[in-house]
């Protein structure tokens, strides 16, 4: 009967068990996700994390293809804020920046944030956060062998390089930006001010130096083509320095000289790793070629060629988002019929005009970069005239998309069959590299910087490599005559600028070159198209008087041609940010 007596303690006993056993019940870790410790204590996961950092490289072959501009990589190109490339008529992003859409409010008062410029800024900082996470945590990954250690060094170097890349993407658009070199936590001060331009460029150069010291000049195996190398970091450094040395920033406290920039470019030349491709067109059609310092490996799904500019009768979808202006076409030199030297194209010269589309006279890159009236493309003669296959009537309402009289074909392979579109065999590229930096650009940077530092015939560090030599390398490969050694410093500079426009067209360079040179007002001029009319005798009359782009509006303030505005909402979130020149007085309505 003892048990019956003791039953009175049963409930208190159960209560005690209940109260003492509950404490761990709240520890329920999620089973599907990994935490930071799990990722960085595992070398394979750490590797994978580092691989995903390359996702932050986004090509100019925009995600426009997918119908959204989210974190638009192709923004700058599409925006065609430069004077040499027009977007399609219904290109929203063009409209957005030009019409002041950067501060337009949308539905639900979510103005600003949805704007392209805001996305570009946000994406850069998201990328920088991802890189900072790696740089703060890679040291926890266990490294068992020397091979592991070498691999890790390379991965870390690449991360420094990628961070420099993203900061440069920010700086070239906004100037000095807030510098974030650690992973910002929810508890940290999330509102740093903008750093000045000198600090920013110094930081980029510092990351490039760290990256270059850790990386080799080539990737460890061909399966890793696309990873960054020592040359990429050195090249990016040269680009950042020439940016700082350029007129706009050197007069605004960058503290960087042309000599600094020239030396950095010379260092890349002296690596002796990169070589110009013999054929200009191959640079864009052959992946990972000897001229590329770094690039983004672009997916076939992007079908850049298909969407961006192909007329539909050639197997495209007629968007024609990139159209060379007549001003740009005029940049291509022409062989003088007397001297045989290539000279600036002059529309007042009847001989130039008569031979403007003459492949044997015009800079060969003209024919290699675009189609025009009478050009041959995929076996078809392009008819850019009323009634022709690319004329204003030929493609109905879509005709409006082909309105300058030219169409870029630079990245478009006309020989490889990749499928059919609208029943037409489509030729194009199974795989493309979006080239961020290539050797020809390095040569032109050197030419520009060294000429500014000491004239056409000077060389950096007494290397004997002259500015003139560098530009002539590029001209010779293109198939046009050398510049004479007698050229003046000023003329040389003008030639370099023209050479950059032609050689690097639609590579996302002109857009920024005009900004670092501080010549944004070239964007404000009226731009023109060519309208061809076919005569009964089969000859053509060309009219150059018509301007292009009813949407091309001009800013009120020339400063607005240089730097991007900071999204007004970002300034509200971080009042320490100061607005860029030209944009401060614009208040939202």
């Amino acid at each position: 009967m003892n048990s019956i007596k003791n039953i009175k303690w049963l409930i208190p006993f159960l209560f005690t068990i209940l109260i003492t056993s509950c404490s761990d019940f709240l520890d329920r870790a999620p089973t599907s996700a990994l935490n930071q410790k799990q990722v960085f204590s595992d070398l394979q996961l750490t590797r994978q994390y580092q691989i995903d950092l390359y996702q932050t490289l986004r090509s100019g072959f925009s995600s426009f293809v997918n119908g959204d501009f989210t974190e638009s990589w192709g923004y700058d190109l599409i925006s065609n804020m430069d004077d040499y490339c027009m977007g399609s008529k219904n290109d929203n992003s063009t409209f957005e920046l030009i019409s002041g859409g950067w501060m337009n409010r949308g539905e639900n008062a979510n103005w600003g944030n949805a704007f392209e410029v805001a996305r570009r800024w946000r994406f850069s900082y998201q990328s920088i956060r991802a890189i900072n996470i790696f740089l703060e945590n890679y040291k926890y990954a266990p490294l068992a062998t020397d091979a592991d250690r070498i691999e890790m060094n390379t991965m870390v170097g690449e991360a420094y390089f990628l961070r420099a890349h993203h900061y440069f993407e920010l700086v070239k658009r906004w100037g000095g930006v807030p510098l974030v070199y650690k992973v910002v936590k929810a508890s940290d001060d999330q509102r740093p001010p903008r750093a000045d331009i000198k600090t920013c460029i110094d930081s980029i150069v510092s990351d490039c130096n760290k990256g270059a010291a850790l990386m080799d000049t080539v990737v460890s195996s061909s399966q890793w083509l696309g990873r960054a190398t020592k040359g990429a970091a050195m090249g990016l450094k040269a680009r950042a320095l020439i940016w700082g040395a350029s007129p706009y920033w050197s007069t605004r406290g960058s503290g960087i000289s042309w000599q600094d920039a020239a030396k950095a470019a010379l260092d890349v030349i002296n690596l002796n790793v990169y070589h110009l491709m013999p054929n200009y067109r191959d640079v864009f059609l052959k992946t990972f070629n000897s001229e590329i310092l770094y690039c983004q490996n672009s997916a076939p799904k992007n079908m850049w060629d298909l969407y961006m500019w192909t007329p539909n009768f050639l197997g495209g979808l007629t968007y024609g988002n990139f159209q060379p202006t007549q001003e740009f076409v005029d940049c291509y030199e022409i062989k003088d019929n007397v001297t045989g030297q290539y000279v600036n194209f002059d529309r007042n010269n009847p001989d130039h005009m008569a031979n403007m589309y003459n492949k044997d006279r015009r800079d060969p890159r003209f024919n290699q970069s675009m189609i025009y009236n009478g050009a041959n493309w995929q076996g078809i003669t392009c008819e850019y005239y009323t009634g022709g296959n690319l004329g204003y009537q030929a493609v109905g309402s879509m005709a409006a998309y082909f309105y300058t009289g030219y169409c870029f074909t630079k990245y478009w392979d006309e020989n490889v069959l990749v499928g059919t579109v609208n029943g037409v065999a489509r030729k194009g590229n199974p795989l493309l590299n979006w080239i961020f930096l290539r050797y020809a650009d390095i040569l032109l940077m050197y030419a520009e910087a060294q000429n500014q530092a000491g004239g056409p015939n000077s060389s950096a560090n007494g290397s004997g490599i002259t500015a003139l030599w560098a530009i002539n390398q590029v001209r010779e490969r293109a198939g046009i005559s050398d510049l004479p050694s007698s050229i003046s410093q000023a003329d040389f500079d003008a030639k370099v600028r023209n050479e950059r426009s032609v050689e690097l067209c639609i590579e996302d360079q002109r857009f920024f070159d005009v900004r670092r040179w501080g010549i944004g007002d070239v964007l404000a001029r009226d731009l023109h198209k060519v309208v061809a009319t076919k005569n009964l005798d089969g000859t053509f009359v060309y009219d150059f008087s018509q301007t292009v782009g009813p949407l091309r509006k001009h800013y009120d303030n020339p400063d607005q041609y240089i730097l991007y505005p900071i999204n007004i909402e970002e300034i509200q979130r971080n009042p320490k940010l100061t607005q860029n020149p030209g944009w401060q007085d614009i208040i939202r309505n």
Partner: protein, 943 residues
């Protein structure tokens, strides 16, 4: 602000008329005695045997729920319990419950606003219980009663207690009621002739001067004789396919009784609710009509093991089978609400199903030949609880341990069938489209389960020392909800309460709880919650105790901190930084990605629960021993509410935080009850008026700084749609020219004109403002009247909902642009033209809807005060009339009692501001299933 004042005036006006209706029921000069639970004297026991004298609590007995013929108990609570506002969304058999809010909506829009529901102190669902299972429902409203629930108490607590047996002879109660449901709030659609005429007008408005339907065709639509019914049909979809009524029945058998050793209460219940589909197959083995059949069972046992140890054991279950045609209720209703009257004849001359090459939606086919689906739900609850008296330690000490299980399984399947349709041309030639296919084998529709286990224990001390009384509790509580594919959802509470009384006149209360949840960071999972409360029974003071006028008076007040850990999204563990598989990157010359890893969620270690500082002051009183009243004022200031921080967090953070605790909302409200209990001879009366007023204001919601005032959420009510203010319709071209440009697409005279709220000269999305609470009223009122005379009894319930808006679907007027037809609302459209016969049609001054169009006008379909309308209403919600047969007769038939009754639920609208559909939720028939009125009669037998 002006709108608010205007509203309040109109509410006042309504209240007056409302009071009049109720007062007219009160006979003069008859008074009785109060026997209400929760009267000022009583000490109320809430969860875990906690006792309080100072809290704000509403109580009803289960018997009061029996008068409502609805199948879902949540439909009965609004109007019976002061403090609760309810909105019933539709009438789908088996899922026609109401959304409930306790003291209104007090969190941020999108936040968790529902009260915590506990059945016998364990997590559970009371809505599917039979009313005979329920002893009481208590609504805990203030911090004094909810602080013990810690992180889950802030929205209030609904405590359901089930019926237990009483010692004594066996009592058997048999309830049987049967009745029918009717549909309410359906649109009235135009027939083909009317439709055709207005369709021509719509086409005319779009620039087609030649009538789409010529006079000859219209004449055929009008003359539905001969072959016209095939070649030019005019189908009345509601009349043709929906039965005027559908049966509903409920039976329950309740057996209870027991001895001093064991007591029992056993219930068996059946509820069956049928659907309205006229052509559904109604074979018991193979029915395609909508229906819900529910079986309830419960055994509650109390066993007194010895003098000091008692054990409670509950076992209960609900089995529900919900059926519908294969295509689902919403497709059937959508077809009825949209298909054009002239699309096709329902039956061809040879009796085949009508249709066209593109329309296979013949409702006869959908209802009877599309197959069916069936969902079976199984709920089972078990509870074991033991209480030990510890008076051998000290007198008044007890200890209780309780464990419960609540399991849910659902399995649904469907069997599909298809049918051919036949088009009929002008010569009555039929063409077949589609195939007749027999019923297929079944396929799974749903298959899911979850279960919750809960454990609690409490030590209670309850003793009086002379003038002092003391009740104290120490408790612990744990529940875990297991959904197989997720980690369990866990709540863990520790708590203590104290209730002290002096001279039965002065009361002090306090509670403290340490409450935790697994969703938060280690070390930050627990929060401390507390309340202080006091009460003063003024009437017991000598200066009042002799009063014949003021016969009861008590003042009570409380203040405390309570939490709300209900989540805004299903995302859990936001404190954690999480990583997942990334996109990788395609290195090399073949385009194939190497897999990667990315940060998928930036953790916020400060992620925590919403907190609520609640103050309550209340007064309970009685006059002449006949009239009672109760009045409560409360404030609820919330902070740490979940809101997106992305308008505050700069992009340089480099990631997103989905929710952080930045929101703040202040709510306040008033609850008032006025009741009369009268008794004179055989005449008894109880009449009670109650009102719940609640209002809130957003203090911080994370929105962008510097918005124009109309776009600001801060300073406004935290819930409701955003929309434009409609100014009516553009009168003519001059009106358009003189008005700001509207940016929602093209518009012309007769289209909606909106107000330029931000005064920028442009009407766009930036002119939106908060349009008040959609569905949820600021003022919820009710009147309950109970009269009995000899064997007769009558109960009347009226509810009134004020200061609310509802969304009005365009199906009530012109749904042609959205693939629908025209309803009578279309006659209130804007029109201004001269018809073929030279008659001027000009409705510009009276129009309620924009001009008719056949294509979508984005200008006219913006959310605005045109389609989100004020919809106050007063409803005669329930009446029950009963007659108890004289006792004398009972002896002969050896029964304790027989009561016959009839009742009606959702009977009539006494006031309806919007007058479009059913004002509670006009979209119900359009989007799910029409709301129903229920009339039933029955008998209650006691053996």
């Amino acid at each position: 602000m002006m709108m608010k004042i205007k509203n309040n005036l109109s509410i006042y006006k309504h209240l007056m008329s409302f009071g009049f209706i109720v007062l007219s029921f009160i006979p003069s000069g008859v008074f009785g005695q109060t026997d209400r639970p929760g009267s000022p004297d009583s000490t109320i026991t809430i969860g875990y045997n906690v006792k309080t004298n100072t809290a704000a609590i509403s109580v009803i007995r289960g018997s009061e729920l029996e008068t409502h013929a609805t199948d879902n108990l949540s439909n009965a609570l609004g109007g019976l319990l002061t403090g609760i506002s309810a909105q019933q969304m539709g009438g789908v058999p088996g899922s026609d419950g109401s959304n409930l809010w306790l003291r209104g909506f007090r969190t941020l829009s999108g936040g968790a606003s529902q009260p915590l529901v506990l059945v016998d102190n364990a997590p559970g669902d009371y809505t599917m219980l039979d009313p005979n299972e329920i002893e009481t429902i208590k609504v805990l409203k203030d911090a004094a009663s909810t602080a013990i629930y810690g992180q889950r108490g802030a929205n209030g607590v609904i405590l359901v207690t089930t019926k237990r047996g009483k010692a004594g002879r066996m009592s058997i109660k048999l309830d049987a009621q049967t009745g029918f449901q009717e549909l309410v709030g359906l649109p009235t659609f135009l027939n083909s002739y009317e439709y055709g005429k207005l369709f021509n007008e719509a086409k005319f408005n779009e620039g087609s001067p030649i009538p789409f339907y010529d006079d000859a065709t219209l004449a055929k639509y009008k003359d539905q004789t001969g072959n016209n019914i095939y070649t030019n049909p005019s189908v009345d979809y509601i009349g043709q396919f929906l039965k005027p009524n559908a049966p509903i029945q409920r039976y329950s058998l309740n057996i209870s009784g027991g001895s001093s050793f064991a007591k029992y209460s056993i219930l068996l219940g059946v509820m069956d609710q049928q659907g309205f589909y006229k052509y559904a197959v109604e074979d018991p083995k193979y029915s395609t009509n909508a229906s819900s059949t529910r079986y309830n069972m419960r055994t509650n046992l109390d066993i007194q093991i010895n003098k000091r140890l008692s054990v409670l054991f509950n076992l209960s279950g609900q089995i529900a089978r919900n059926k519908s045609p294969f295509v689902g209720n919403s497709t059937i209703w959508s077809t009825i609400m949209h298909e054009l009257p002239n699309s096709y004849p329902i039956f061809t001359p040879t009796g085949m199903l009508g249709g066209t090459s593109t329309k296979f939606n013949n409702p006869v086919g959908l209802m009877s030949r599309s197959g069916y689906q069936e969902v079976n739900n199984r709920n089972m609850q078990a509870m074991l609880e033991a209480t030990q008296q510890l008076d051998f330690i000290t007198k008044g000490l007890t200890i209780t341990v309780s464990g419960a299980y609540n399991g849910f399984n659902t399995y649904g399947y469907q069997k599909q069938q298809s049918f051919a349709v036949y088009s009929v041309d002008a010569n009555l030639v039929q063409t077949k489209f589609g195939l007749d296919k027999p019923l297929s084998d079944g396929t799974d529709l749903s298959n899911d389960m979850n279960y919750t286990t809960s454990l609690w224990g409490s030590i209670n001390y309850d003793r009086s020392f002379g003038d002092h009384s003391l009740q104290a509790t120490v408790m612990t509580y744990l529940d875990q909800k297991f959904i197989p594919r997720y980690s369990p959802y866990v709540n863990l509470n520790y708590g203590a309460t104290l209730n002290y009384g002096f001279l039965k006149r002065y009361f002090l209360g306090g509670s403290l709880s340490k409450s935790g949840n697994d969703n938060y960071a280690p070390g930050s999972r627990f929060g401390l919650f507390y309340s202080f409360s006091g009460g003063w029974d003024v009437h017991k003071e000598s200066f009042l105790s002799e009063s014949n006028i003021l016969t009861q008076l008590k003042i009570r007040s409380s203040y405390g901190l309570v939490g709300n850990n209900g989540q805004v999204s299903t995302q859990r563990y936001l404190y954690q930084t999480q990583y997942t598989t990334g996109e990788g990157y395609p290195f090399g010359t073949t385009y194939s990605s190497t897999s990667g890893t990315v940060e998928s969620q930036a953790g916020n270690p400060y992620f925590t629960w919403e907190k609520s500082k609640q103050f309550n002051i209340g007064i309970d009183g009685g006059l002449f021993n006949k009239v009672y009243f109760s009045f409560d004022y409360y404030t609820d200031n919330r902070f740490d509410m979940l809101a997106s921080p992305m308008n505050k967090l700069p992009d340089i953070f480099g990631s997103t935080l989905s929710y952080t605790n930045i929101g703040k909302v202040n709510s306040k409200g008033i609850e008032a009850v006025l009741g009369v209990n009268e008794k004179m001879g055989d005449f008894r009366l109880n009449m009670e008026l109650s009102a719940t007023f609640s209002d809130n204001k957003v203090i911080e919601n994370g929105e962008v700084n510097g918005l124009s005032s109309n776009l600001q959420g801060i300073g406004k009510q935290s819930f409701g749609e955003w929309g434009l203010k409609s100014l009516g319709f553009f009168y003519d071209a001059a009106d358009i020219a003189n008005s700001p440009v509207q940016k929602f697409g093209t518009y012309a005279p007769g289209d909606v004109k909106y107000a330029d709220l931000n005064h920028d000269g442009i009407i766009d999305g930036n002119d939106k403002t908060r349009l008040g609470g959609t569905g949820i009223p600021n003022l919820f009122t009710s009147a309950n009247l109970k009269l009995s005379f000899k064997g007769f009894d009558i109960g009347v319930q009226i509810v009134g909902l004020f200061n609310r808006e509802v969304y009005i679907p365009l199906e009530f007027s012109n749904a042609i642009p959205n693939g629908g037809k025209l309803a009578v609302g279309a006659y209130s459209r804007w029109a201004n033209y001269t018809d073929q016969n030279g008659n001027v049609v000009d409705t510009r001054s009276t129009a309620l809807y924009p001009r008719l169009l056949t294509t979508v006008s984005t200008n006219n379909t913006q959310n605005s005060t045109l389609n989100i309308k004020e919809a106050d209403f007063i409803r005669l919600k329930n009446i029950e009339i009963g007659y108890t047969l004289p006792k004398a007769w009972m002896k002969a038939i050896k029964l304790e009692s027989i009561r016959l009754f009839c009742n009606g639920y959702n009977l009539a609208l006494l006031y309806d501001q919007a007058k479009i559909g059913d004002p509670e939720y006009p979209g119900a028939p359009i989007w799910s299933y029409g709301k129903t009125r229920i009339l039933s009669f029955g008998a209650s037998l006691n053996f």
